[in-house]
Symmetry: C2
Subunit: 520 residues, 2 copies
């Protein structure tokens, strides 16, 4: 074990201790190859374009064979060729190839129509046959139904299934899906969208929680695994070795979901701090406070959850991970009674700034004043010298967009901005929706898992990223208090969020958005 640690240490010392840029991540794993990006071809010269065309044909050929070939020994080599070939393709050629797959290896619709004709020709037999003839009529009916079901499966399913059982294939499928997702973000292509939803369904089956192993990541894990944690940590970058070691040490936990076909690399991982109280700032979790003795902890704080595979977008592994971690921690540490997050609010500033700007642009007659009168007054009071005939919203916009977040260096500005920023943040989290769901992606994630919005924390993340995303505000989503039986049932929150879009929030947060005057 000691040997392992030394080796891990040696390798980690060489590793850059910050998240890698997309380009350098691709060196760690094929997963990260940046996909799509259609217009690269146009900048290349004609010669290169002939070469790419030839290259494309070779990969297309291997893909076709990988679908139609029946000798599985040859198949292994074919699938290797195909995946290697795929990785060598330009973004434009990948797009072309995926379209070929979606369009040319779709259903055999003539066959579907024939089977439908056959199916409609049969009367639905009685499900409980009373004699042998009825029994065999029923059997025939099931057979046709089964054939129809089979015929409705696109031919590209064969490729997916084959890749799934091929070494490295599951990971390759996740790369392919990452490319598809990125293409569909740029343009809407019906056949590719149909392929994407089919592949997503398959991935959901293959990555069912039953096939995933919950692994506690510790300082004793191989450096190759820890390196992935450093590379993929998406919420609070790991700044150095001491930072990483602290996140895996006393008073801390880190759990990941591993799949046996993607060894040594968690698909998703979560970082937990064991604390006396629900933390209000990320500083106290990551830097300021030394960990408390674990036996004194009453709160498990989830302060970071990162998914490592862009190809698994829309597949909610996090929900199962959080549920299992809560169960595990509850069992191991009965003193822990609170499970909560300390989460970023990634979309708040973007929303607020565009709101301030659009109100500004619209005429004065119908414009919504998103500030309360007191807030407006305080802003104008404080900034009267520089106000210069501008209105309060304009001033606020200027403050929030100032270089280096100047406002955070003035006690006075901080105190005058706190009221409107906190109140509008609550409004953003509780009221701003998109297709019935919370506009903020992190909020939507925790709400659909059944958490409630627990508390907003002022100046909770003063990092560049934190100020840029949310003016430094962070939120605690609360999963479960053991002593509040009405909150025991996470699923009821999730259910009502799904069906009505209702966002469950504590009084603390709700009061911000109560109608009538602000309570602050």
């Amino acid at each position: 074990m000691l040997g392992m640690n030394k080796k891990a240490l040696a390798i980690l010392m060489r590793t850059k201790m910050r998240p890698l840029s997309p380009a350098s991540q691709s060196k760690i794993s094929h997963m990260q190859l940046s996909p799509g990006g259609g217009n690269k071809l146009s900048t290349q010269n004609a010669n290169a374009s002939i070469n790419t065309e030839r290259e494309f044909e070779v990969v297309r050929e291997s893909m076709n064979s990988a679908i139609t070939m029946n000798k599985t020994e040859v198949l292994d080599a074919l699938l290797n060729d195909f995946s290697e070939g795929y990785f060598s393709l330009s973004g434009e050629n990948r797009r072309k190839l995926l379209l070929t797959l979606a369009r040319e290896h779709d259903l055999n619709r003539t066959q579907v129509h024939e089977l439908i004709k056959q199916y409609l020709g049969l009367e639905i037999p009685h499900a409980e046959p009373t004699n042998h003839e009825e029994e065999s009529r029923l059997a025939a009916f099931y057979r046709v139904e089964r054939n129809l079901r089979q015929a409705l499966k696109p031919m590209y399913e064969v490729l997916f299934e084959r890749l799934n059982t091929h070494p490295g294939g599951l990971k390759f499928l996740s790369t392919i899906r990452a490319d598809i997702v990125s293409i569909l973000e740029e343009e809407s292509i019906a056949s590719l969208r149909a392929l994407d939803s089919y592949l997503k369904e398959k991935l959901i089956t293959w990555l069912s929680p039953a096939a995933l192993e919950l692994h506690q990541i510790t300082w004793d894990d191989p450096a190759s695994l820890l390196e992935k944690i450093v590379a993929y940590e998406a919420v609070h970058p790991i700044s150095n070795l001491i930072d990483l070691k602290r996140r895996l040490g006393v008073g801390r936990r880190c759990f990941g979901y591993l799949h046996s076909a993607i060894p040594g690399e968690p698909l998703i991982f979560i970082e937990v701090a064991l604390m006396k109280n629900v933390a209000q700032t990320i500083q106290e979790v990551l830097w300021d406070d030394p960990p408390i003795p674990e036996c004194e902890a009453t709160c498990a704080l989830f302060y970071s959850i990162s998914s490592t595979q862009p190809g698994l977008k829309g597949i909610n592994l996090g929900k199962f991970l959080i549920k299992r971690v809560i169960d595990l921690v509850k069992k191991d540490m009965p003193n822990i009674s609170t499970f909560a997050t300390l989460s970023p609010i990634p979309g708040y500033m973007q929303w607020l700034l565009s709101k301030l700007a659009s109100v500004e642009r619209s005429g004065s007659t119908f414009r919504e004043n998103i500030l309360e009168p007191e807030e407006e007054r305080s802003l104008l009071d404080v900034l009267q010298e520089s106000a210069d005939g501008k209105n309060a919203m304009e001033i606020m916009w200027n403050l929030l967009t100032s270089t280096n977040h100047e406002w955070t260096k003035s006690e006075r500005l901080i105190s005058v901005l706190e009221a409107p920023l906190m109140r509008l943040c609550a409004r953003y989290l509780l009221k701003e929706k998109k297709r019935g769901r919370a506009l903020d992606s992190v909020a939507n994630f925790h709400l659909q898992n059944g958490a409630m919005v627990g508390r907003l924390n002022w100046m909770a993340d003063q990092s560049e990223k934190g100020l840029l995303q949310s003016g430094g505000i962070m939120v605690n989503y609360v999963y479960r208090y053991i002593y509040s039986p009405e909150l025991e049932n996470i699923e009821e929150n999730a259910q009502s969020y799904f069906s009505t879009g209702h966002i469950h929030a504590s009084c603390d947060v709700s009061r911000f958005v109560e109608t009538g005057r602000s309570m602050m």
Copy 2:
């Protein structure tokens, strides 16, 4: 590690070191509960039958809720209730419940018909739309197609999916399937057969090799795992601790496939002996010869492969296991050039005896004499005193069915029976088919994996079981000689076996069944 071994030892010492009877196996795991067996109910009194009826209704209720319930937190409890309830049901009630599932939670055929109508109403749009309108027509078409595909999924899929993600659920599903398989062996019920083939397909997806972990089982493994090896070893029962330790020691390997949802229990495992030559008798593998130094081995002999889950019947995990073990051994030990089995021939005696008996029963005019003239003569010569006007086939039948296999105690009888038994065994293996496949189940397994019939071994397994099954004959199936390039491609054998039923055999074995006179 030493502590582990001591503990393992202590537990193993208490374990009965022989395969458990089906009844006592059920104490190890629910998996083994013997299912079906319809007629138990009739022997119970009316009171008990009312109780069982009530019990049945409770389980049926929990099953229905487990399918329709949408609150997943409640769902966990429901699925637990359902699986506990299921295990408490009598065979007859399980049968009733499974029929309810197959019939009442089938498709919504009204919906299917509606969607088909909608589907047929749409013309198939061009796959490469040229304008926005065509694009959205195509999207609508895919949507309807997807809905139809969805509607063709039986409702019981929800139960399967939910159980699969529920702790212990995958194993429970395998129990359910074991029960279904056993019911279908007794009677053919179309709706249950449709359910079975659907569940089997699901299990194949969930147990894809990508989701399985290849684990080398050693003496350092937990006793709870080794206990399973002892309990499930289906070919050559493990007689005591020394036997088990030897099978895991020097010159031996044991590999199993583990699934993370069924921890501590391989789904299938294979035992390998590293030898100088392909063994001719099981005695030399299990008992007689001390293992050779591993560096001297040139042959990996697969002498036992056991699947532990009757519910996975028809799902060929063994093929993948053998392939991976061959790859692994080849990589680790480049000196190994031969991969072969030493296999039982479980159906030979049963086939031969019924052949001898049926020839006997049929009239003398058209009867097939399955013995060669020389064989007949030797038999009559040796047994002239007791022949008593009987013909050679009758004599052979009597010898083979004599109590305690008397014939194996006489050198003379052994030598006179060798020629016909070996020749007929080759015929049984190479020529006797059922639906185009080898009649013998073990032969069919290895042939469909791409092995060839290599050599028949006389008096290779003189255990009671060996004599009863195959008159003591064993067979070597050969997977691959490194120095015979024409045999390199296992898949080609498998392919030609699948498509034409052709059984690939060595000259050694083929000559037994050549037309014309026997070569012996």
